[in-house]
């Protein structure tokens, strides 16, 4: 899948789900773009570098979300 198309798909899907949750596992993203993990990783990394996705970490696990979304963002006082 082309980067642009994959990016749009991920943003669209994550925005749609924002009402219930704002953080997603890497595998969830790979599923959205129906891409094998190794290739999905390149796309996801690129989106992070462009500031379209941001990481969320529990310390033991990592998740991804759209920047500034989610109920904890304000609670943590990090904009």
């Amino acid at each position: 899948m082309e980067y642009q198309e994959a990016k749009d798909k991920i943003v669209e899907e994550l925005t749609k789900k924002l009402k219930t949750k704002s953080k997603f596992y890497f595998n969830d993203l790979a599923k959205i773009i129906e891409t094998k993990p190794r290739d999905a990783k390149k796309i996801v990394n690129q989106m992070v570098t462009e500031g379209i996705l941001e990481y969320w970490s529990s310390g033991s696990t990592s998740m991804y979300g759209l920047p500034g979304t989610g109920k904890q963002a304000s609670a943590e006082g990090e904009e």
Partner: protein, 381 residues
């Protein structure tokens, strides 16, 4: 205070950014005697507890002085270590996996001056800054986690109980009178970010109450699907609750399924589980990681619960001291605590360690539990 920039430009985070360079290379920090003799060591000996000599094929000798360290350490303390290393060993030292500090000397003549120097260094409160020991058939430093100093799900403190227990075991940190080495570890909750499940003696923080639910704020502060998904035993489900006449979205916890891991609290700050009476310590014993003589094995729960008794955890320290004394008295040379327990039988272990055997100690968690019950007529009266 005025902000001092490192040179980083927040407007352009990728500008001049250096990434993926990894750690510094190990050999940048080798003292010359190690750089020269790496891979060509012949043998080692303990000259006294805490002092080792390694002899190389070349005839070169490396003297190591091992000191106990609290793994929670300030820059003031680290700078003092640096100062000692500069004075005695050309600035070279290392840390062990068990948080000990090792000064590396290239001649025997340097050992005594270093030992004398270390012995005189004490904190204001009176404790040693650099007690020498932690080698051979003795009790080494306790590896541990963060506890109340920095963790959000601990069921006990880490540095506090470690200090209290090491004070109790201090003589054996500086002696070689055990049948084999004794490794004590502490993890402040069952997630065990410090893996303690294969230690001769493990101190494990444990919660005994399911999380509280801050219904009024839960839906405002947390994303309910994430809290539900965080639970490893699927004990959390969505629920509607009424608070002050208002219908709110929240969650319900099936208390019988909750294993008190705190994963939900990580995702949802409205589900705290820390509790003064509920939290405390589990003691486990008999594990090891070495393949020496017998295979590595897991530690077993031998005391189901001891309350948190800050600041010095006297019961925890007493139980551990008691086990170590019973082991020292009864085990054979080279026998690890777990090997000893298996040889004499766990029924005898509880007797010799003067520990109560309660129903909590019988495994009832999932399939493997069955295989821990006695399935032979061989047992001791």
């Amino acid at each position: 205070m005025a902000f001092i920039s490192s040179g980083y430009n927040p407007e352009k985070p990728m500008e001049n950014r250096i990434t993926d360079i990894g750690p510094r290379k190990y050999d940048e920090f080798y003292p010359p005697v190690i750089a020269k003799n790496k891979g060509k060591w012949l043998y080692h000996e303990y000259l006294q507890p805490g002092v080792l000599v390694h002899v190389a094929e070349s005839g070169d000798e490396l003297y190591t002085v091992r000191c106990g360290g609290a793994r929670l350490m300030t820059t003031t303390h680290i700078r003092e270590i640096c100062e000692i290393a500069d004075k005695h060993c050309g600035g070279y030292f290392r840390f062990t996996t068990r948080n000990n500090i090792e000064f590396l000397l290239d001649s025997k003549a340097k050992v005594k001056p270093l030992l004398d120097d270390l012995a005189g260094r004490k904190f204001k409160g009176g404790s040693f800054k650099f007690p020498v020991g932690g080698t051979g058939a003795g009790v080494s430093n306790i590896v541990h986690t963060q506890g109340w100093i920095h963790c959000h799900t601990p069921a006990t403190d880490a540095s506090g109980p470690v200090k209290a227990v090491m004070d109790e075991l201090f003589a054996d940190f500086q002696q070689h009178r055990m049948p084999a080495h004794v490794r004590v570890s502490l993890a402040c909750c069952l997630n065990m970010c410090g893996a303690v499940h294969c230690s001769d003696i493990a101190i494990l923080g444990y919660h005994r109450k399911p999380p509280m639910l801050d219904h009024e704020y839960l839906d405002k502060m947390c994303e309910i699907p994430l809290a539900i998904a965080a639970c490893p035993t699927a004990a959390i489900k969505p629920a509607k609750v009424e608070v002050k006449g208002e219908k709110l979205n929240s969650v319900a916890v099936n208390n019988e399924r909750c294993m008190y891991c705190g994963n939900c609290y990580t995702m949802c700050p409205s589900m705290p589980l820390a509790d003064t009476e509920g939290d405390g310590i589990v003691i486990m014993a008999g594990g090891k990681v070495s393949n020496r003589i017998s295979a590595p094995k897991f530690s077993k729960v031998v005391v189901a619960f001891i309350p948190n008794e800050a600041p010095r955890w006297p019961q925890t320290a007493k139980v551990i001291k008691g086990m170590i004394e019973a082991y020292a008295k009864d085990a054979q040379k080279y026998e690890r605590l777990g090997d000893w327990a298996e040889r004499i039988g766990w029924e005898r272990f509880f007797e010799k360690c003067e520990l109560d055997f309660t129903h909590h100690l019988i495994d009832d968690f999932r399939d493997p539990a069955y295989y821990t019950w006695r399935q032979t007529t061989q047992f001791k009266f």
